[in-house]
Structures are given as structure tokens and as C-alpha cells.
């Protein structure tokens, strides 16, 4: 039995309704409890800001394309080297760190749970292998369904139950956590070097449109009663004028779930562009934020861009090729048979580049214009908008108009005529930041009930203690202190163990992989479906029996079983 008592913690725990109370937190055997005995290890927080462990609900940290980002980029590996030290293995990489690099750097920032944003089902084993070497965070993965042939055919046939059954089979087989659509239909079109332009453009050969894919998969997701909603990367990413497509997409979504949103739209910054081309490119964050404000069934994440070097990587293969044709650096592409695509290019976001400056502004505008922080999550689509190590700066920008103005003075001078940012006065407080960096993620992912994102009795003892007195520091003025504090915890506690202390990781951890298994009736068990089996026999290059991720790949894991309406 291990016990910890955190004394004098200045706690903000939005899910439990705690906003800035100085209190003690008792931990026994990895869970928050009412109290502990006199023998407990005592940690004196001395009034420091104490939050539930951070959760990233959209990041790219493990799997085929992440690893290819490393593989093709020795220059990025050189840009982030640390030597082996104590319990910490050597790390490499700045924008695409090695698995240990990701894990240690997230841990020093107080993060204890991570969702890999895009896992191709065929290559799921790879993601799970890398999870095993991401020791200090619990992990889960979105499985990609945007170009899944069996699903496209079921949608064409109008059989939503079959869509759900297929998703259920794949999620269970690949030990996935949630349903991801990346440029739905577009990744299949990219198999022919083509793309879809918006939600009503049909997918070649399959006679379905992205809007049909999105609406059917959203319904199927709810039939499976999955903890998380559909996780959508909209069509048309990165193109001037794409905000109309984004608003049309958000408009498709009914309110189907009482506990959480019905759609999680990711990295919406990349989807909130006005203009007819690059010359009149401008921000359309206001209309997009307004749609979100009117629709409680939508949650978005910012997809904030920060200036500097990074690597972009996504299942959206056609988008990466378009981006490559603008940047001319190097380009990798990896289509995945019957399922999806992917692409990678390195990028340098420059403050003196007008388009980049507008992108930077749009992310912040979304964060500030979406009224309810539970509906707008802080993220950079790591590493696409910026590596996650830039989060503390993003937080400070949201909290300080002064910081925003100082930064704004350094960007391309025409930016002012293209974006509303300078006119936005809002400054987030500590509570809102706590929502946007852990509580909203836990709620959106549907993992509050398994003890994530809060510090109530029974919760997982994932705690981040930041070296800042939230009751004394004015973040709007002392934003440097905010950046410093969120960059390195005093203590990061994971499942009741101190895993990181002032940036030093102290243990060789052992994460939990969280996955879902919808219980589906025999009638809808795809394992017995002749057409579904034929897909494997005829078109996949891996046998159906070899396809599912074996138990050997999940060391410590938590399976969330759901009762599907099938």
C-alpha cells in the first residue's frame, strides 16, 4: 500500500467544482481517497497551483507516420538530444521526439494522459508498440475510418447498423479508443491522386459524399455507445475559403448525446480560413466560433500554430502534397490499403509571413471567441501547429492581452487588416485554463467515469503541481511566470507515484492503454459476415486472422466495454 498526502495545495478541479481552494489531497494505491494514515509520504505544495494531470486529446506521438517523421528527419533528431541520465533514457528530436522524448517532456509539463490522433487500423500494432515505450502517460488511439471500403459500401447501401458493426469490429480488433475521420472520402480519392473539394463532392467509385460519411458515422458512433464522439478532421484543410466547408460540416451534426458532444472537430484553426486565394487570405474565426457557440453538440480543439520549425503529419495525404508544393522541402506519403492515407512534410512557420501570421492569430481567436471553455480545447495538433513543448506559451497568450499585443507587434504588418485578434480583450483565468487543458478533454473523451481529468474521491491519482501561486500572480501581467510554471511542474504524480520532479523523471513507468470493445449481437458480428471476410481474402494483403492486434501488445490496459444498440 502506498500513500501520499499532498498538503496546502491550491486546487482547481473544474469537474469537481473546485475553483481555487487550498486543501489537502490524499492518495492511496493510485487513487484519490478521503484520507490517509500518518505514515503517508507528505508533499507540501506550499500553495502552488495543483491541477488534475494534463490530458492531450489530440496529439501525434506514436505510430507509422510519426515514426516516419523521425526516420526522414535526422536534422530534427539532432535538434533535441538529451543523454541518458538516471532513469531517463537518451532522447532525440524537437518536433517529433523519440517515444521517451515525448513521454519525459509531456511528464515534466504535468501531462498524464495522451490520445494519439490518428492510427491506421492496418498498422495499429506499430502504434501499440510505441505506446509500450511511452511509459509515463496513459495512452489511447483514434482509429481511422475515413476511407474504409467496407464502411463506404455500407453507407452507399444506406445501412447505418452495418457501418456501426464494422466500426465495432475494427475498434475491438485494433484496440482503438475512438473513431477518427480524416478528410472523409478525400483519403480514398487520394488513392488516385485526387481529393474531394467539400462535403457534397462524391468519392470516386463509391458513390458517397463526405457529408453522407460524416452523418452515418456519427449515428453509428452513438449506436455503439462509445465513450468519445466521432473525432473529425474536416475536408479541405488548409485552403483559403475553407470556413464555409467547415461551417457546413458542423451544421450537419445533430445533438445525440446528453453526456458529451456529438462531434469533436479537431485543429479547427486549419479550417477557419477566408479569402479566395493566398493574396486575400484572412481569418474567419468569428463565424466558425459563432457556430460552435450556438451548438453545444460541438467541441473543437484550437490547432494553434506557433512560429518556428516543426513537422506536419496527417492521414490527409492530398493536403500534405498540396502543402509540399508550397514549401518544396521534402515530402513523404504513405497510403494504407482499403483504409486511409498519410503524408509528412517539415514546415517553418514564420512571423514575417502573412499567411503564417494569420494562422497564428486564428487559433488564438478560436480559443478566445468560443465562449464556453468546455467547447474549445487547447492543443496545437502536435506537432502540426507546433510541438507540444510550446503549450505553455499558448496558455500564456490566452491569459494575457499584453503578451498577445507584444507578439502581434512582431508579425507581418498586414496581419492587422486580416484578423480580429487585436480587438479581442478576453483574458482567460486559471480556471478556464484548467478546463481547456484537462477537464474539457476528459469530458470530451468520455473518460471522467474512469477517473480521468479530476481529483474527486475515487479518481486516478494523476496530479500536476505547478510552481506558481495562482492566488498571487496576475497572469495578464506576469505572463512569463505562467510560461515558466506550465513548462515544468514541481511534481507530476501518475497513478499515485511521483513520476517527475522539477523536470527530472524519476521512475521507469508503466502506462495503461485505454481501448473500447462494443458488445455487438451475433447478427451483427462481422467476423461471420461473408462480404466482410471477402474483403480480407481478396483485397487486403494481411490475412484476417493475422489482422487483430494480439494481447501481447497490451501490457497494462483498460478495456471499456459498451452495450451497442446492435
Amino acid at each position: 500500500m502506498s500513500e501520499i498526502l499532498i498538503k496546502n495545495a491550491y486546487v482547481i478541479d473544474p469537474i469537481s467544482g473546485v475553483n481555487g481552494e487550498t486543501m489537502d489531497i490524499a492518495i492511496r494505491d493510485g487513487r484519490i481517497v478521503e484520507d490517509v494514515g500518518g505514515g503517508a509520504e507528505v508533499i507540501d505544495a506550499r500553495g502552488a497551483l495543483t491541477l488534475p494531470g494534463g490530458i492531450d486529446s489530440h496529439t501525434h506521438i506514436c505510430g507509422t507516420k510519426v515514426n516516419f517523421g523521425r526516420y526522414m528527419s535526422p536534422e530534427d533528431m539532432r535538434a533535441g538530444r538529451t543523454a541518458r541520465h538516471g532513469y531517463m533514457h537518451a532522447t532525440s528530436g524537437y518536433s517529433v521526439p523519440t517515444t521517451y522524448g515525448n513521454s519525459y517532456r509531456y511528464s515534466r509539463m504535468g501531462y498524464t494522459t495522451l490520445l494519439e490522433g490518428a492510427m491506421a487500423p492496418l498498422e495499429a500494432r506499430h502504434t501499440h508498440e510505441e505506446f509500450l515505450y511511452t511509459p509515463l502517460q496513459d495512452t489511447m488511439a483514434n482509429a481511422l475510418f475515413d476511407g474504409n471500403w467496407s464502411i463506404l459500401e455500407a453507407i452507399r447501401d444506406g445501412d447505418t447498423k452495418r457501418v456501426a458493426a464494422i466500426i465495432g469490429w475494427f475498434l475491438t480488433a485494433v484496440k482503438g479508443f475512438a473513431v477518427k475521420l480524416t478528410n472523409p472520402g478525400g483519403t480514398e480519392a487520394w488513392g488516385w491522386g485526387k481529393d474531394v473539394t467539400c462535403i457534397h463532392n462524391p468519392v470516386p467509385n463509391f458513390e458517397v459524399s463526405p457529408s453522407e460519411i460524416i452523418t452515418a458515422v456519427v449515428k453509428a458512433n452513438e449506436m455503439l455507445r462509445l465513450p468519445h464522439s466521432v473525432h473529425l478532421h474536416c475536408n479541405n484543410l488548409g485552403k483559403p475559403g475553407n470556413y464555409t466547408c467547415t461551417m457546413g460540416t458542423l451544421g450537419l451534426i445533430p445533438d445525440l448525446n446528453k453526456k458529451r458532444q456529438t462531434l469533436y472537430a479537431t485543429h479547427v484553426q486549419f479550417h477557419s480560413y477566408g479569402g479566395s486565394g493566398w493574396s486575400d487570405f484572412c481569418s474567419k474565426s468569428e463565424p466558425v466560433a459563432n457556430v460552435v457557440n450556438m451548438r453545444p453538440q460541438i467541441v473543437i480543439d484550437m490547432g494553434q500554430v506557433m512560429f518556428g520549425k516543426t513537422t506536419t503529419m496527417t492521414a490527409d495525404g492530398p493536403m500534405e502534397f498540396n502543402l509540399y508544393r508550397l514549401h518544396h522541402d521534402k515530402w513523404s506519403n504513405h497510403d494504407v490499403e482499403l483504409e486511409t492515407g498519410s503524408g509528412i512534410i517539415p514546415v517553418l512557420y514564420r512571423r514575417k509571413n502573412l499567411v503564417n501570421a494569420v494562422m497564428w492569430a486564428i487559433g488564438l481567436e478560436l480559443g478566445l471567441l468560443v465562449k464556453d471553455p468546455w467547447q474549445c480545447i487547447m492543443a496545437t495538433d502536435n506537432p502540426n501547429g507546433a510541438p507540444f513543448v510550446r503549450y505553455p506559451e499558448v496558455i500564456a497568450l490566452l491569459m494575457s492581452k499584453k503578451y498577445r499585443d507584444e507578439e502581434f507587434a512582431t508579425v507581418h504588418p498586414d496581419t492587422e487588416s486580416r484578423v480580429p485578434l487585436p480587438a479581442i480583450e478576453r483574458e482567460m483565468d486559471w480556471y478556464e485554463i484548467a478546463v481547456m487543458t484537462r477537464a474539457a478533454q476528459a469530458k470530451a473523451l468520455g473518460i471522467v467515469d474512469i477517473g480521468k481529468g479530476h481529483l474527486g474521491v475515487g479518481a486516478e491519482a494523476d496530479v500536476a503541481i505547478y510552481p506558481v501561486r495562482a492566488d498571487e500572480v496576475d497572469p495578464a501581467v506576469d505572463y512569463r511566470k505562467v510560461i515558466e510554471a506550465f513548462g515544468k511542474t514541481e511534481y507530476t504524480i501518475k497513478r499515485g507515484r511521483v513520476v517527475s520532479r522539477r523536470g527530472e523523471c524519476l521512475v521507469d513507468g508503466n502506462n495503461t492503454t485505454i481501448w473500447v470493445k462494443p458488445k455487438i449481437s451475433e447478427e451483427y458480428n462481422m467476423a461471420n459476415d461473408p462480404d466482410f471476410i471477402a474483403k480480407f481474402d481478396r483485397y487486403y494483403t494481411v490475412r484476417m486472422s493475422n489482422y487483430p492486434v494480439q494481447d501481447e501488445y497490451l501490457k497494462r490496459n483498460l478495456c471499456i466495454e459498451t452495450e451497442a444498440e446492435l
Binding site: H89, E129, W331, N546, E552
Partner: protein, 429 residues
């Protein structure tokens, strides 16, 4: 007993549809496997127990003694080299990386004498690729360049290209065009719709000519380039541009001939150019069944696919300096652990001479050319036959190989795990 859907641990095709017949604890037959795979499954003459060289004799020793020797050798070394890895499973490769890090040694895999140059090219210009099924279902044009899959990857054509019917190609043999580029005729060129015979060492020039034609600058070309008629080059570009989906597969004939990584870079840039007209992909024909896995494992753990030097605590990568051949040729290496490969059969003579001078332990199921240069050899289970584990196919698809035989041999992971645990006792803080 027949075991279905077994994974063949021979080449990078990683065929997973093999039927293996096991009788009395032995594999007696295989179905679906090619001759290379069958010979591996039916392989005999396994080494019975670890052996140690004593004077001019080999002496059988226990596994514990072999592990003791290995641990002492590695702990005593200033610049240990851990080499090989392509013929074992990912779980063992992971232990190898941890061990190299703790020993401050160098870890390298067979890529450095194989597709290493292809990786260098990818690090310059990227890699537009795809999984093999994407090609099987869509590609109406296939180009094999500097490779002979009939001999080296025998089922590549039947599973993925020439003879494989796909979703959009109901009659593959009729609907796909196959172009083979090589310096000589081979069994593969006999199956080609178009054979492009180039002069040895002229790959770079021919690729440049093709790029020029794709870019509309073909008028400037001479009558022949690298021994290839101008008309044929134009015809090929025309075929490529009219194709709906093209796939280039290249082998060591492109990677390891004059120009080396520049050839691959040029080929990738040709594919890049063709993507502005239609869909095109390019991929390496990886040799060992899990050489790609060793690149993957090294990359997620260290940031680099091969040739990693931990001597300064950080992971340091500089092919040509931190690769096995160079470390041995410079006589820096003072102890070598070889796992699942056979460097004595492939390395330059000065490297092998140095191997003969230093203590060497080899972990391998069979005696091979390297056995003659080692001090201890430890036989292990063969991944995919008597040990299970992860392998990455040439296109990056990970597949779990099966254990189809129960034998007393420990797996690579078990042996390496024991060695690592012992090293940890001494070196871990």
C-alpha cells in the same frame, strides 16, 4: 497438424498465408511458401547448444556460461558494437537498443550495407510510398528497377503486382503493365511488358533523362542515354503519365551501384514529378524479413534508423562514421555482439580481419560464415518458427510472426534480456 496463416520469416514480403504441416515436433511440409521460405521452414542442422572456441577447438558450453562470457565481454569493452538485428523480432531489437545505450556502445543493423543509401536519400527528399495492398488493388503500371524479385522476393509478383488481381484490376495480367529496368536480362525481365536495358553505372543518367521528359524538356536529350534509346524513354514516360496509379520498386541494383544514394534521390524525385500528372509511389525491396523493423525500432527509440553511437550518452548518427563497416575498418571496435545476421559473408576483408582480432559473440540458430570469426555462438529459436514476435514488412506493415514449433531453444529476446539484466546490475544507477 496443419497451421494456417503462418508468417514466413524470410524476405521483406513477409507473406502471412503459409500453411505449415507439423509432425512429431518437426515441420514436414509447407504450402503457399516460395522455395526460399520453404527452405527456411524445413531448415535442418541447427546448432545444438552454445559453443566456445578453446584454442583451435569448439567446446559445448551451457547457456549460462555463454551469457556470462557475453556479459563480461561487453562490460570490459571500450567501444562495443552491437550489429545485425534484421533477422530477429522487434522485441529483441528493443532490448538491443537499451543495451547499446547502457553500454555507451554502437548499434547498427544490416541496412548500413544494404538499403542504407536509400534511407539517406529519403532523409534528403522524403518518400512517397504506400502499402503493398494499395499497389495490388490499383496500380496499372509497375516498374522494377535494379532488382530481380523472381529470385529475391519470389512472391512479390504473385501477391502484389503482375499476377495479383485487385479491386480495380480484375485481370491483373492483362490490365497491368510491367516495366523492368536492369543492366542484364533476368528471370524478371522475361516477364516484363517492357525491358529497359541500361549500361552499368548509368542509372542516374537514365533517371535524369526521364525526369527531363516528364518536365517537357525531352527535346534536349541525345539519341541514347545510358544505352537506352530516346524513343524508349519517351514511350515509358508516356505510359507513366497515362497510368492511373504507378508503383516503382527498386533494389540494390540501384542502391549499391555508382551514384548510390543519389540514384535513389533521383528516382524519388522522378516519382515526385510524376505525382503532378497522376498517382505514383516508390518503395525499396527490403531484403531480410525484419530489416525494416530494425529501422523502425531504432527510430522510435533513438531517432535514427541505423548506425547509432551512444558513446557520449546521446544518440549520435553519422553514417560513414558510426556504421559497422567503418567502426571495424578503423579498428575502433574492441568487442562485437552479432545478432541474426552474417557479416563475415558480406563485409569487406579489413572488417573481417578486425573481427578475427577481437572478442565476438554471435547469437544465431545456425553456423554461418561469421561462426569462423567468433569466440562464442549462442543458438536460439528462429523467429517465426520456434519464437513469436513482431516483424515489419517492406512497406511498414507490422505483423506478428507465429511460433509453430515447441523447442527448447530460448528466443533472441530471452537471451538478450538475460544479458541486459546482468549489465543493468553493474551499470544501472
Amino acid at each position: 497438424m496443419i497451421i494456417k496463416d503462418t508468417v514466413c520469416p524470410f524476405c521483406g514480403c513477409l507473406c502471412d498465408d503459409i500453411e505449415v504441416t507439423v509432425e512429431d515436433g518437426k515441420i514436414v511440409a509447407t504450402d503457399n511458401a516460395c522455395t526460399l521460405g520453404t527452405s527456411k521452414f524445413l531448415g535442418d542442422h541447427r546448432m545444438k547448444s552454445p559453443i566456445r572456441r578453446v584454442g583451435k577447438e569448439w567446446k559445448e558450453i551451457s547457456y549460462d556460461e555463454a551469457i556470462d562470457y557475453t556479459v563480461d565481454m561487453l562490460l570490459d569493452a571500450d567501444r562495443p558494437l552491437l550489429y545485425g538485428w534484421s533477422g530477429t523480432h522487434g522485441e529483441a531489437q528493443c532490448v538491443g537498443v537499451h543495451m547499446a545505450e547502457l553500454l555507451k556502445g554502437v548499434i547498427d543493423n544490416t541496412s548500413s550495407v544494404c538499403h542504407g543509401p536509400s534511407i539517406l536519400a529519403i532523409q534528403e527528399v522524403g518518400h512517397p510510398g504506400c502499402t503493398l495492398g494499395q499497389v495490388k488493388n490499383r496500380a496499372d503500371i509497375i516498374i522494377y528497377w535494379g532488382c530481380n524479385p523472381i529470385d529475391a522476393h519470389p512472391r512479390h509478383l504473385s501477391r502484389y503486382t503482375r499476377y495479383a488481381n485487385g479491386f480495380f484490376l480484375e485481370n491483373s495480367f492483362r490490365d497491368r503493365k510491367v516495366i523492368v529496368v536492369d543492366v542484364r536480362k533476368s528471370q524478371t525481365t522475361n516477364l516484363a511488358d517492357e525491358f529497359v536495358q541500361i549500361k552499368p553505372g548509368c542509372d542516374y543518367a537514365v533517371l535524369s533523362a526521364l525526369r527531363a521528359i516528364v518536365r517537357g524538356k525531352g527535346d534536349d536529350l541525345p539519341r541514347t542515354v545510358g544505352g537506352v534509346q530516346r524513343e524508349q524513354l519517351f514511350r515509358i514516360v508516356d505510359l507513366c503519365k497515362k497510368a492511373k496509379f504507378g508503383a516503382v520498386y527498386f533494389g540494390l541494383g540501384l542502391t549499391m551501384t555508382a551514384g548510390k544514394y543519389k540514384n535513389i534521390r533521383n528516382a524519388i524525385e522522378l516519382v515526385d514529378e510524376l505525382n503532378r500528372h497522376t498517382k505514383f509511389t516508390i518503395s525499396a525491396m527490403r531484403g531480410h524479413y525484419n530489416v525494416y523493423g530494425s529501422n523502425e525500432v531504432n527510430t522510435w527509440m533513438t531517432g535514427y534508423p541505423f548506425g547509432i553511437d551512444f558513446s557520449r550518452g546521446i544518440a549520435f548518427y553519422n553514417p560513414g562514421e558510426t556504421t559497422a563497416v567503418d567502426i571495424l575498418a578503423r579498428k575502433e571496435c574492441d568487442a562485437c555482439l552479432i545478432v541474426a545476421s552474417d557479416p563475415a559473408a558480406h563485409f569487406p576483408r579489413p572488417c573481417i580481419e578486425h573481427l578475427a582480432e577481437i572478442p565476438v559473440v554471435q547469437i544465431d540458430p545456425y553456423a554461418n560464415a561469421t561462426t569462423a570469426f567468433c569466440d562464442v555462438q549462442i543458438p536460439v529459436g528462429i523467429t517465426g518458427i520456434d519464437a513469436a514476435g513482431t516483424a515489419y514488412r517492406m512497406d511498414g506493415v507490422p505483423i506478428r510472426t507465429k511460433k509453430v514449433l515447441e523447442t527448447a531453444y530460448p528466443s533472441d529476446e530471452e537471451i538478450l534480456g538475460s544479458v541486459y539484466a546482468r549489465i543493468q546490475e553493474v551499470r544501472q544507477p
